[in-house]
Symmetry: C2
DNA sequence: ATATTAGTTGAGAGCGCTCTCAAAGATAAG
DNA sequence: CTTATCTTTGAGAGCGCTCTCAACTAATAT
């Protein structure tokens, strides 16, 4: 780039300024450089230059930075001082090229479902993944897709350009999952939520949806409810597992399963409202709603119909996200450790990337039942009966 | 890595397989490679190897890929065929190192405010940014911070390691903004929302909050309301601008500003409820609530108090996010083009990165007034009076 | 005493790309 | 036919790191 085209553009790169061997001159040049950096973008220092400043070779500086043993204390100290003084940080891209590892992981959300941008579940999950990424000095890339062509194109580049070390997949489709493709490319990845196909070959982190649904249903049964409906979801395995937990619990208690009491939504508020409208003619005395968002919709419908919660119908939901404490009455719900799920996924992915894992790992995190007002427990039962590590009373 | 440690680990890297000059042998080797790739991770092809397969040099392949002119049609065709057959994609990291450009941009959310993970505004914004990033083949990195130390550390690495080409900043703090730091480092960046300090030096994309608030307030005034309250926010410039539009409009109509009718929230549902409780003793006949989320909280409080919307109090809000159509009555609200804001930010950032922009650019996108039921317009006015490009009637 | 080992450093060869430069052939102009 | 210009290609020098190898010193074993 010549100086005359676009005078004073903030991109004049200054290199090779440290080639002189006189230490005083070098330090003078460094001050100059610092002054210059106030005006324009100055090229970052390199290992070589730090080496020159510290009077050692590039290799030695690299060793100090990467905590290799076998460096004399004096040299290490000298190099570290220069690094501290200059604020040097190694160029990630060069490092990636040389080490064949970018320290960039991707969070992929293949589904284009409306709920992905609506349900507070995802921000929370992203927060957990982000926090763990920061902690482990990984750069987190986010991949959302707005059409199948876009997904196809972007996935191709993720898999072939070598930029991404590994992936975390969430909200995958049941049909046409992207998992086989990842498996084929031998890309390290962790799925959040139980994969629908070949879970045995896949590393995943999930919460114990069956046990969570069992707790919720058991709670309703123990409170004496008998016509217990469910608003499940049929587009993902979490919904399947929760439905399964519900069915199993009722059967254990000898309560017949009534298909008319089983409805489905898609995690959105509207779908919860819709499902509750389907359920009302069946006159359930309690409903296990498989997400807080759907419970929000369901409760709005009940209020409009003048049906009181929990007096005429009890509600227990799933997630324990902010909406759960903003309803009237506040929701009894199964708390998922969402942020922790994201963190565990990152930790597992790290192990996969460094080949520390030989066989697929399945991490299942426990859920808790949070008892508030929507289930009617306060009116009926002595709450002290519920003292249990998996139950929190927050009436 | 030796073969005997951890047999068949999927990381055996195969290189230099194309060194032979006999074309038939080379193709045979390629088939072998493909078979091998079913079993283990095979090193990606390189420019050099594609060149060998096409019988040209690395430089020529690079030219084909980067659409340089001055390539003979036959050579271009031949190279493209090899690329298509092999599915070759250039290694992004090597490309970044050589070109000093990573094509990675960062989305930074410095604020640790609760609302960031709660207000549906952010998912929508992220969606817009992501969509434009995909479109322009940029990789989007997400930077959320959970503590000041984490922010400090991560920003340092963003600014010094050369991984990130440019940043999009949103939800910046008013106090202790990160903008000066970015300016000092000459990092290309675009702010979403008007920056509080030195906006003249900063590239930003914002929606026209003043005009939006004017439309909302004007609408309420034109419907005959006289005691018009506001739930603003004081932690960011969007709130300032909306308050400003509200005040200006009332003054223009000769309506005295009553400080008791001005309250503040923080975009959360709870804060909206809280503010409405403060407002109720003042008996406003209409309230301009500066976000849908806060309007949600406000309307819950009103319903609990048995105050009917819009019969006893009219509500107009801001955002037009999903909650706006899920309330009863549905919200009259100022629609922000949130996704488009994110897209514009990416487009502007691209220009900044390639130094196509000399002076700071300020893009202000127009908002629309969406008239639904919560303002009482349906009962009072002939809606056809509102035919205007900035007004949508959706009663 | 010498041989061996451990500790400490630098030289230098990559990683897979981009981009400049020069060379060679083709074409147009004199 | 020569000279100038345009088109087309390859060689090769980086980009800023990592990592192997070899060299040298100092400490320990034989």
């Amino acid at each position: 780039m010549s100086l005359d085209n676009g005078m004073f553009r903030p991109l004049i790169h200054v290199t090779q300024i440290f080639l002189t061997t006189d230490l005083k001159v070098r330090y003078a040049l460094y001050s100059l450089l610092r002054a210059l950096s106030k005006v324009c973008k100055v090229k970052n220092l390199t290992l070589e230059e730090i080496g020159k400043l510290a009077g050692v070779s590039r290799a030695t500086v690299s060793r100090v930075i990467n905590d290799y043993p076998y460096i004399s204390p004096e040299v290490r100290e000298r190099v570290q001082r220069v690094i501290a003084e200059t604020g040097y940080q190694p160029n990630m891209i060069a490092r990636s090229l040389a080490s064949d590892r970018s320290n960039i992981i991707g969070l992929v959300i293949p589904s284009q479902a409306y709920a992905v941008f609506t349900d507070p579940y995802f921000p929370r999950l992203i927060q957990g993944v982000s926090q763990a990424s920061n902690q482990y000095k990984l750069t987190l890339s986010l991949f959302l897709f707005h059409s199948r062509e876009e997904e196809d194109f972007t996935m191709k580049s993720i898999l072939n350009t070598g930029l991404i070390d590994g992936l975390i997949i969430t909200a995958d489709r049941k049909e046409d999952s992207i998992i086989p493709r990842l498996l084929r490319h031998h890309m390290p990845f962790v799925v959040i939520g139980r994969p629908d196909t070949t879970p045995e070959k896949v590393n995943f982190v999930d919460t114990d949806n069956v046990a969570g649904a069992r707790m919720a249903t058991e709670h309703l049964v123990s409170l004496g409810y008998e016509r217990i409906g469910i608003i499940a979801t049929d587009e993902n395995t979490a919904g399947d597992d929760r439905l399964h937990g519900y069915v199993a619990t009722l059967e254990e208690h000898g309560i017949a399963i009534d298909d008319k009491l089983i409805t489905y939504g898609d995690f959105s508020v509207q779908s919860g409202a819709q499902a509750m409208k389907e359920l009302m003619p069946e006159q359930p005395d309690a409903v296990f709603v498989c997400s807080d968002s759907m419970a929000l919709g369901a409760m709005t419908v009940l209020r409009e119909a003048g049906i009181s919660v929990p007096d005429e119908i009890a509600i227990v939901s799933f997630d324990d996200l902010p909406p759960a404490t903003q309803t009237e009455p506040r929701l009894t719900t199964v708390r998922q450790p969402i942020s922790q799920t994201g963190q565990m996924a990152v930790e597992l992915l790290r192990k996969l990337i460094s080949s520390d894992v030989d066989h697929p790992v399945h991490t299942i995190l426990p859920n808790q039942l949070i008892i508030r007002s929507s289930c009617g427990a306060a009116q009926i039962k002595n709450l002290h009966d519920y003292i249990d590590k998996n139950v929190v009373i927050d009436v």
